[in-house]
């Protein structure tokens, strides 16, 4: 399918009713992503059964726009409450929440909203124009390159961890170890399940991730609240709804463009998705930005980088889905389910048999961006006002939402057990100076690292040369080394001064 034909399909997919569904999808996406405990993929899978009765084109537009909305929605609680809605928003919480505490709540949400729309829209345009090239990237990424890319993601820990670097590495190791629990993709045998058959498929990712990034943070706030028993919100009277200006956003354009490209490349890779993209983008943004040394104090670049990257993942993650039938992220896997339910098989023949599906998905992503701006802008004030809810109400509501989110996975009460265990472990780790966010990064990348390392070794018959001979792998490994060295030097510099 040529780019021109794809554009024709995109225009053909447009209908007023489709626009309504895009609004619905974006709104549910923002709302679902913003509920702590409901990740982007869970929000989509909850909406999936409703799309069966719909016209396929509208159904795909709804799912695609829901995906776009959820990637932004997760940043709302990250910024306002420091409780990330989805793991991809964890880096946003660092600076976003700080900016909110500095009294610029509206601006913090604004950077995330405009950044997210920018990432998905221009990422989507590039996706349409370079569909063929992106497909080739996906095929070029052999196991060794995938391993190197995952390794690159892990290296983000260097610049993320404050204080003792060994503790940062330990945190990430614990995450990788947690990820090895369950069935080994390679040999099919179960490992480290401690006799619990529920762990046979591994530690369920949504409750584990939500427990480490969101619930452990919330525990700290709840414990403070129980000690202090404040009955009014500390933000009362300090709420600020001022939105960002175009000029303010353009001040971050360098970081935004770089993050978009990182989001696109990482999004194409099967199995990684938005989480790794936003961590890499935050890490690299720190080096690119002129405010790099101020990351962590609430600077715009630090919000824009991860938010652009995770939204740019959306158009990229659907590329391998539409061209091979292989989803680039768990959310794209839900989209696959939606297509199969409508009797379509994503793959090389989709462009011939159901070209309208391609048009619908891309139109859904592109249309979702202006809708996201509108809906996000309209809902900005109510969201900020949430922080004015008395803290004892707000904390309780979030606790209940975390639990119900785990139950919504339909894996039974065991998922709630995982959530509570990870929340407790995350809180204790934070006390002892370890970093639960790094643990999540390790957990999310664990299988990618191990499987691809082992597959590479098996294909090369045990030779390590394969990491040097493949050009993409070599470049990625050199980038990782560079990023670690620069990160280490930056850590030493402020320590001396």
């Amino acid at each position: 399918m040529t780019t021109l034909e794809l554009w024709q399909q995109i225009f053909a997919a447009f209908s007023p009713m489709g626009l309504v569904w895009v609004f619905v999808g974006v709104t549910w996406g923002i709302f679902g992503g913003a509920l702590p405990g409901v990740t982007a993929s869970l929000a989509m899978s909850l909406a999936l059964p409703f799309t069966i009765a719909m016209d396929p084109v509208n159904a795909f537009m709804l799912l695609a726009s829901c995906y776009v909305g959820a990637e932004y929605g997760g940043s709302i609680p990250a910024i306002l409450l420091s409780v990330p809605g989805t793991p991809a928003n964890a880096p946003t919480a660092m600076d976003g929440h700080q900016m909110h505490l500095n009294g610029h709540s509206g601006k913090a949400l604004g950077y995330s909203l405009v950044g997210g729309s920018f990432g998905s829209f221009f990422g989507g345009l590039i996706g349409v124009f370079l569909l063929g090239a992106l497909v080739k990237i996906a095929l070029l990424l052999d196991p060794s390159a995938m391993f190197a890319l995952a390794f690159f993601g892990l290296s983000a820990v260097v610049s993320m961890s404050k204080g003792n670097l060994a503790k940062g590495f330990i945190s990430i190791l614990l995450g990788i170890m947690l990820g090895t629990i369950g069935s080994d993709n390679f040999s099919g045998m179960t490992r480290f399940t401690m006799g619990m058959i529920q762990l046979g498929d591994g530690v369920s990712d949504v409750p584990a991730v939500v427990g480490f990034v969101a619930a452990s943070e919330l525990f700290g706030q709840v414990i403070n609240q129980i000690k202090e028993k404040r009955l009014t919100s500390p933000m009362l009277g300090k709420l600020d709804f001022t939105f960002i200006t175009i000029k303010e956003f353009f001040a971050t354009i360098k970081v935004a463009l770089a993050s978009m490209i990182m989001g696109l490349v990482v999004g194409v890779m099967p199995g990684a998705g938005p989480t790794i993209a936003s961590f890499i983008a935050y890490n690299e943004g720190k080096r690119l930005s002129k405010d790099g040394d101020k990351f962590g104090t609430g600077v715009p670049d630090a919000i824009v980088a991860p938010e652009v990257a995770n939204n740019a993942c959306v158009p990229a993650a659907v590329v391998p889905l539409l061209s091979f039938g292989i989803p680039g992220s768990t959310s794209a896997a839900i989209m696959l389910g939606g297509m199969v339910m409508h009797g379509m098989r994503p793959g090389p023949l989709l462009a011939e048999s159901n070209p309208e599906a391609l048009g619908a998905v891309f139109l859904g992503i592109l249309l979702a961006c202006p809708c996201l701006l509108i809906v996000g802008r309209l809902m900005l004030k109510p969201w900020v006002k949430v922080t004015a809810i008395p803290p004892h109400f707000l904390n309780t509501i979030i606790l209940v939402l975390l639990v119900v989110g785990s139950l919504a996975l339909n894996e039974g009460i065991f998922a709630v057990g995982i959530l509570l265990f990870c929340a407790f472990a995350g809180y204790v780790m934070k006390l002892a100076g370890y970093n639960p966010i790094a643990t999540v990064l390790g957990f999310v990348l664990s299988q990618l690292v191990e499987d691809n390392l082992r597959r590479t070794m098996l294909l090369s018959k045990g030779s390590l040369m394969t990491f040097v001979t493949h050009p993409i792998t070599l470049v990625l490994l050199l980038l990782t080394a560079g990023s670690v060295i620069v990160g280490l030097r930056n850590r030493k510099a402020p320590a001396k001064s």
């Binding site: 170890m177 309780t396 606790l399 639990v403 119900v404 139950l407």
Partner: protein
């Protein structure tokens, strides 16, 4: 026990033990079906060795370092610890309640307890009971009825 130094020492000893148990569990894994350079145990064992090594470095540093910051008390007090335990017990009871009693009833009870723990005054019980009921029913309607999630199979709702 509230000094940063001791926290580091306890955590690193715990991690060394964890690494050792993990390594042992990995070595007990049966041989793989497919011959490969790294078996199902190879990667985990590598992780365990790294973990033990890094934990030892944390331990050594904590023992040797006599600087002020290392000996300063952490902000975590015995009272915090007590509250953390109470919070965990409440949550575990909540989870058990969902499973054995039912979603709406236990969410309602959990909310009431949380409001009380977090300082809501008891002289106006309406201000505790009504929001709790609203939260419980809203979650049930959204997730249980609309999204058909399985919210447990207790004998009450």
């Amino acid at each position: 026990m509230s000094k940063k130094k001791y926290l580091d020492m306890i955590s690193s000893v715990f991690l060394i033990l964890l690494g050792a148990i993990y390594f042992y569990a990995a070595s007990k894994l049966p041989a793989p079906l497919t011959k490969e350079p790294l078996g199902p145990a190879g990667f985990p064992q590598f992780l365990a060795i790294l973990l033990i090594g890094l934990s030892i470095s944390v331990l050594v540093r904590a023992v040797l370092d006599k600087s002020e910051s290392n000996n300063s008390p952490t902000s975590f007090t015995a009272r915090d610890f007590k509250i953390l335990i109470i919070l965990m017990i409440t949550l575990i009871l909540y989870a058990a309640g969902i499973w054995y009693v039912g979603y709406i009833v236990s969410t309602f009870a959990f909310c009431c307890v949380c409001f009380w723990l977090m300082g809501a005054p008891l002289d106006k019980p309406i201000k505790i009971l009504v929001p709790s009921l609203i939260i419980a029913i809203a979650c049930f309607v959204l997730f249980g009825l609309l999204f058909k999630a399985d919210l447990g199979s207790g004998f009450l709702f």
